[in-house]
Symmetry: C2
Subunit: 492 residues, 2 copies
């Protein structure tokens, strides 16, 4: 089932598509109004349903920043155009943007990066034209943090097989829909073989399903480097959440910055389109804001709902306006010629129907892979527990700690194999001189395979807990005969 058909069932009457419009904070309402005027003038058949989110909602005490009516409107319509949202200091721990992405599982963040006429940058004329596809819900953004000791903080980086497959298939579908060829997967798989390596392995597994594409893998730091050295080499780049966050902002900078950068957030049940910039409170309400980024986002939305004609018409009018550089807003206008949001919007409307020197792509409908409902669960054929890592807070030196742990676990069926500090084995000692903090990971192995590893672990933990603060436990598991845990630096 294509994304297009899955959303069109929400449309009202014959033509009009219902879209949830969230004007948001700061300059949001102004740029939203400008975009709605342009889309109406272009004949886009949209039935807007306005909904609230952001600063005012937080201040009314709603900790998510989005009231139930807004969530219901999104669930009903499945398509959202959104202005910037603020999270006022002191209200709620989480941003309303992240809430919307997470609640609706908008797992694909799509950021087109294309040279625009009239927007001068050091890379102008080189034909930069790429799309960054960033995984939007996993990775460090799951926000799972635990202080291990008063001075040692931990965040879990989680990457799953289905999460990787979903974003990679979305990236491949997008590459095809835009008539592109090269799909670059950028990870740090060389250092994080399990997590970042997960995305790389899934990429290698599924790319044979797309024989028309040209897949390649690049280390993320080299990717950032290449983007500055030779950005025109990239077509579609897909990455994990944190790394994708950095390179998508980098890439936006190559073509003029966040102020003209559009984006979409795509999931199985909803798609949300928004400018990358924020609420620019300093210029809010002054008819100074540039609506280009939200307009480019709305053009993405039009293509997403299948209205390719209106998308094309609005895009060409915008490109003509930028090309001719008449009546642009102050942030992008030639010196001394800046006009207001309203006058710029009028100019774009006046240019509807004209064609720019910039070619358009032959866009095709984007067909999103559909996933079964229910919990993704692929248990291994065989599994085995071989030991346990116990994280301990102590000020003791490694030899003393080791001696005390050996005594503590005696008789449990587990034996101390090694102790490490921030990834480097410190017992048995090697010849290096690591700096030690009060968080030690102590690895215990089962002396013999056994069915009730849990009992051995429980006994060991009881022994350890009698003399030490432990705060974190990881079972050492083997799945289908392969170790599901890495070794410490220096561990044999």
């Amino acid at each position: 089932m294509s994304a297009q058909s899955s959303y069109s069932s929400h449309s009202t009457g014959f033509h009009k598509t219902k879209v949830t419009a969230i004007p948001g904070d700061g300059i949001g309402p102004e740029v939203m109004k400008a975009v709605q005027r342009i889309l109406a003038a272009a004949g886009a058949e949209i039935d807007w349903e306005e909904a609230e989110a952001g600063a005012e909602v937080f201040k009314r005490g709603i900790a998510t920043g989005a009231p139930q009516e807004t969530l219901d409107s999104i669930a009903r319509n499945g398509i959202v155009l959104k202005g910037p949202l603020e999270t006022p200091v002191g209200y709620g721990e989480k941003s309303a943007n992240v809430t919307l992405r997470k609640f609706f599982e908008l797992y694909g963040n799509i950021r087109p990066v294309r040279e625009l006429p009239g927007i001068k940058t050091p890379f102008s004329g080189r034909g930069i034209d790429m799309v960054i596809v960033r995984e939007n819900v996993e990775d460090l953004y799951t926000g799972i943090e635990h202080m291990q000791t008063a001075g040692a903080a931990q965040c879990l980086k989680l990457i799953t097989e289905p999460g990787s497959e979903r974003i990679l298939r979305l990236a491949a579908a997008l590459t095809q829909a835009e008539g592109r060829k090269k799909l670059t997967c950028a990870t740090k798989a060389n250092i994080m073989k399990f997590t970042e390596g997960m995305m790389k392995r899934v990429f290698e597994r599924i790319m044979p399903d797309y024989p028309d594409l040209e897949p390649s893998h690049m280390i993320i730091d080299n990717c950032a480097h290449q983007m500055v050295i030779a950005p025109e080499q990239f077509d579609v780049v897909v990455s994990t959440n944190m790394n994708g966050d950095i390179i998508s902002d980098l890439a936006a900078g190559l073509v003029g910055g966040l102020g003209v950068a559009p984006s979409s957030n795509i999931g199985d049940h909803a798609a949300m389109f928004e400018a990358v910039h924020g609420s620019a409170p300093q210029i809010a309400g002054k008819d100074l804001a540039n609506p280009t980024a939200l307009l480019l986002s709305a053009i993405m939305m039009l293509r997403h709902i299948g209205d390719f004609a209106a998308a094309e018409k609005v895009e060409q009018a915008l490109l003509v306006t930028l090309e001719e550089a008449r009546n642009l807003t102050g942030d992008i206008a030639p010196k001394g010629t800046g006009v207001g949001t309203t006058a710029y919007t009028d100019q774009v409307i006046a240019n509807l129907g004209r064609t720019s020197g910039f070619a358009s792509r032959a866009y095709q409908p984007l067909t999103l892979p559909q996933w079964p409902e229910g919990v993704w669960h692929h248990p291994p054929q065989t599994r085995e527990v071989t030991g346990v890592d116990v994280f301990i807070e102590t000020g003791a030196e490694p030899p003393a700690l080791a001696a005390s742990l050996q005594t503590a676990v005696a008789g449990s069926g587990l034996t101390l194999k090694m102790i490490e500090n921030r990834g480097v084995q410190v017992w048995p000692a090697h010849s290096g001189r690591p700096f030690l903090v009060d968080l030690f990971r102590c690895r215990f192995m089962l002396e013999a395979p056994r069915d009730n590893a849990d009992a051995a672990i429980a006994q060991a933990l009881a022994g350890i807990g009698a003399g030490h603060h432990w705060m974190h436990v990881e079972k050492l598991q083997r799945f289908d005969g392969r170790d599901g845990y890495t070794k410490a630096q220096g561990e044999n």
Copy 2:
């Protein structure tokens, strides 16, 4: 105690400083030889002690890629100039570079990024001149990964208070030593309040100790964006390990790429200087390699050991050579004028004593903060355990899982508070539609404060383990009255 004096105790005789030279793999030996010739011609008083590391060492079966004699030489001399090292596929899990950094706790990776004469880039003429200081041993690079289920991978991101303080004080000392003012700390503290927030908080705590500096904080994605939009605004930028990895490669790209990028890796007991590029095996042994990056690294080394005169002389000769663009290696020469490594080296030597149009900084000795030996341990005044997070593998839907867990922990003193999947609360349910994978985090809270939380946890785990696969446990701790754990998206 300054770094300079701490190392000078290793020097031999009156003048000569003993330096461990690791030529390394591929083009390493050629560029090392070139640099040694230039330093000798400049009168730098160095007594080289050659040592082995890299591909050949791995192939002899030494899993670290560095034999004991090399480690001993580094421990003895404290100063290393190193060529690129390869990790041959199939030998050892860890790279020899990472091993050296970790074993000697080289916690500060310093990457100067300065526009060079004759190296044309889109940013030429804008006067880019910054230093990226990257934390080099913590964060995701501790390499602690555990498969939670067969389809869900986890890596621990660890950031400690002393680790942050060490790198931040190094960055501040470097800013002062180079006569700079602005120090920008780049983190993702807005999303990872504990880990990335740790570096931000320590930055805010210690910066009053440096009233001559101008400190500021920037979100890392915005930093990547600003580096492309307005790189000349940056002076010294300090960041956590993974983020620093990406922005340092990005920044190198702004001034000509990794091929001319030097670096140092600094610790309490050793400092290692190396080019950022790799072993370029395609051109190895052909007298084609450009020694500039290693030469720039050697200039950093000369300043580090206090030989400012030789550093200045070599740097000016190099700058004159680049300025005049005669006898450059093929990678940077004007079309058709490239020469070999040897001829380029001869040209630099011929230019020793000349002065370029490029000003030199007034470098001062770098004074590294000294840290006490022993385990860093700052226990809190008060501590409390309030509950436990248990990570469970299951294909069950959240309501069924919740019911079974409630039964499993009955009588333990712990109560199920919520269940989340990849950071989003799924029980009690909210109105979103998250995609579920087979890894659930289940949060249990103690019904009443108690001293022996361990006993309650043990009883609960036994109950849970009877019906479920658990693989990971995190105690919920409060330190000095503050929660040491974050809430899930949607959790109250």
